[in-house]
């Protein structure tokens, strides 16, 4: 993601690459951040935050809290797209969000965020005589399931119904499962090939069914969205924001 983000920033009018960091000891330290940018990748986060107007971090969960702290200290907005952040770290990030603008997107694609909003709307409008099922399709190398997007879609549906997803979710079905409990939100995952990422939310009623599908065929949709979030965050008052805030979908 990092490399793609650098390329996205470099080709976006009005934006310039201000620097890039890598893991200490990594092979890319010292190499060019971007072709012709005239700057080298360092392991110095402090310098990065000092030199830039906004920072985008889609690296790893273990450094997320540290990024947030650096952003707060330097008063620089941060777009933090890392997943799998633990509760304690999340509390630290929230605290940092009281001193600078932090956008924490679950997913930066415009299309997927529109689908989140539509799913919530549909779930709110349709009663539980419409069963909600989510099918996520991912490439063979992805090592976890359900995907973050599948879970986010499920949460959007639960939010629309004003229920807690944990109470109603059904993951995996095998054997004598019995009839489906009313109000359940089911999730299933297909894994194979280098499938472009496809997510479908089914609202299955009696006599009809609605399906909302998002297909991502290029990772550019995520990098574009990340840069949109970064530009939005600039000049924003301190706070913890979502992609829905960025896109005006809240």
């Amino acid at each position: 993601m990092g490399r793609l983000l650098v390329q996205e920033v470099a080709r976006t009018p009005g934006c310039a690459v201000g620097g890039g960091t890598g893991r200490p000891g990594s092979a890319i330290i010292g190499r060019d951040v971007a072709e012709g940018a005239g700057m080298a990748v360092t392991a110095d986060g402090e310098a990065l935050f000092a030199a830039c107007d906004v920072v985008i971090d889609f690296s790893v969960a273990s450094v997320a809290a540290e990024s947030a702290a650096l952003a707060a200290r330097h008063g620089v907005p941060l777009v933090l797209g890392t997943s799998g952040i633990g509760t304690e770290d999340q509390a630290a990030i929230a605290a940092a969000g009281s001193r600078t603008a932090i956008v924490q997107p679950v997913n930066t694609s415009l299309g997927m965020n529109v689908v989140f909003a539509l799913v919530k709307r549909a779930a709110a409008a349709l009663g539980t005589d419409y069963d909600i099922e989510i099918l996520g399709q991912q490439h063979r190398k992805k090592v976890d399931a359900p995907s973050g997007a599948t879970l986010a879609l499920a949460r959007a549906a639960a939010a629309g119904r004003e229920v807690d997803l944990g109470q109603v979710e059904q993951r995996g079905r095998r054997g004598a499962i019995g009839p489906r409990p009313a109000g359940a939100i089911g999730m299933a995952t297909v894994s194979g090939g280098d499938l472009s990422v496809i997510h479908t939310v089914f609202f299955a009623g009696t006599g009809e069914r609605l399906e909302l599908t998002h297909r991502g065929t290029s990772r550019a949709i995520y990098t574009r969205g990340a840069v949109v979030a970064a530009r939005w965050a600039l000049g924003r008052p301190p706070g913890l924001y979502s992609m829905a805030d960025v896109l005006g979908l809240a």
């Binding site: 069963d131 063979r140 399931a145 079905r173 297909v190 194979g192 090939g193 499938l195 089914f202 069914r209």
Partner: protein, 266 residues
């Protein structure tokens, strides 16, 4: 052609009665019900929602087999041996679609096939059987670079997972590659699943609404995917297949046949 329906009062039985009555080249020879059932003595077609026919629901199948060229049995496993024997004695073609037969019941059906034509299949739908055939073929042609996934969507009351059809599709895919489904199947994915094992056949099960059953087999490769999908919108597809099997079986030599024989896919 005279076709009889055993278990004519059940969900499938009634649809079969309607199907045979509607078919131009068939005539309904009669119907039976479970001994003690309130349907015994009632008009066969009237209890199926049609105009009366003067055929009465009987509780013993002997007279039915005597009066028929073919009998369709989508009733219960426990009745299978009796029906198979009657078919054999009277030289009547038998279409048998009940699932869940134990070894003894299956043995009885196979024994009858030594004396009359028996078509046996767990899914009588023409579309599903074609899909099984295609799945096996495609799986044989595309190697492990193509990952096989089976997705199904069924109505909210279906109590078991995956469906019989999904499992049949999985077996067909495994057979196409000379493998064994039990060794390759992945039925659930939750949490850290690790990278996908080569050759695995994955199942994804969706439940909701009122769909009578939709199945998609995905062959996912690098840069492309092939999907074969079957969507049932009505249970009538099973009865159409059963009547087609009955038509085909009349006059065939004794033997145990499948829907693939009926459809010319074997």
């Amino acid at each position: 052609m005279k076709i009889g329906i055993v278990g004519c009062g059940g969900t499938m039985g009634r649809l079969l009665v309607q199907e045979v009555v509607a078919a131009e080249d068939c005539a309904l020879s009669g119907g039976t019900g479970r001994p003690g059932s309130p349907l015994i003595g009632r008009d066969v077609t009237e209890q199926a929602g049609l105009k009366p026919s003067d055929l009465i629901v009987a509780d013993d199948a002997e007279a039915l087999f005597q009066a028929s060229d073919a009998v369709i049995d989508l009733s219960v496993a426990s009745a299978a041996p009796r029906h198979a024997e009657l078919a054999a004695i009277h030289g009547v073609a038998l279409v048998h679609g009940t699932s869940g037969l134990d070894a003894a019941q299956q043995g009885a059906v196979e024994a009858a096939a030594g004396r009359t034509a028996v078509v046996q299949s767990s899914s009588m739908s023409i579309g599903v059987n074609l899909m099984l055939e295609l799945t096996e073929q495609v799986a044989g042609v595309l190697d492990d670079d193509y990952d096989i996934e089976i997705v199904e969507l069924f109505h909210r009351n279906k109590a078991d997972a995956p469906s019989g059809t999904s499992l049949a599709l999985g077996r067909a895919a495994a057979a196409g590659r000379g493998g064994d489904l039990d060794a390759l199947a992945i039925y659930e994915r939750d949490g850290e699943i690790g990278p996908r094992p080569d050759g695995a056949i994955g199942f994804a099960v969706l439940r909701g609404g009122d769909s009578p059953g939709e199945h998609t087999v995905i062959f996912a490769g690098a840069g492309e995917r092939i999907e074969i999908a079957h969507k049932a919108s009505s249970r009538a597809i099973y009865t159409l297949g059963a009547v087609a099997a009955a038509r085909w079986a009349v006059g065939k030599p004794a033997g145990l046949y499948s829907m693939r024989d009926v459809l010319g896919l074997a």
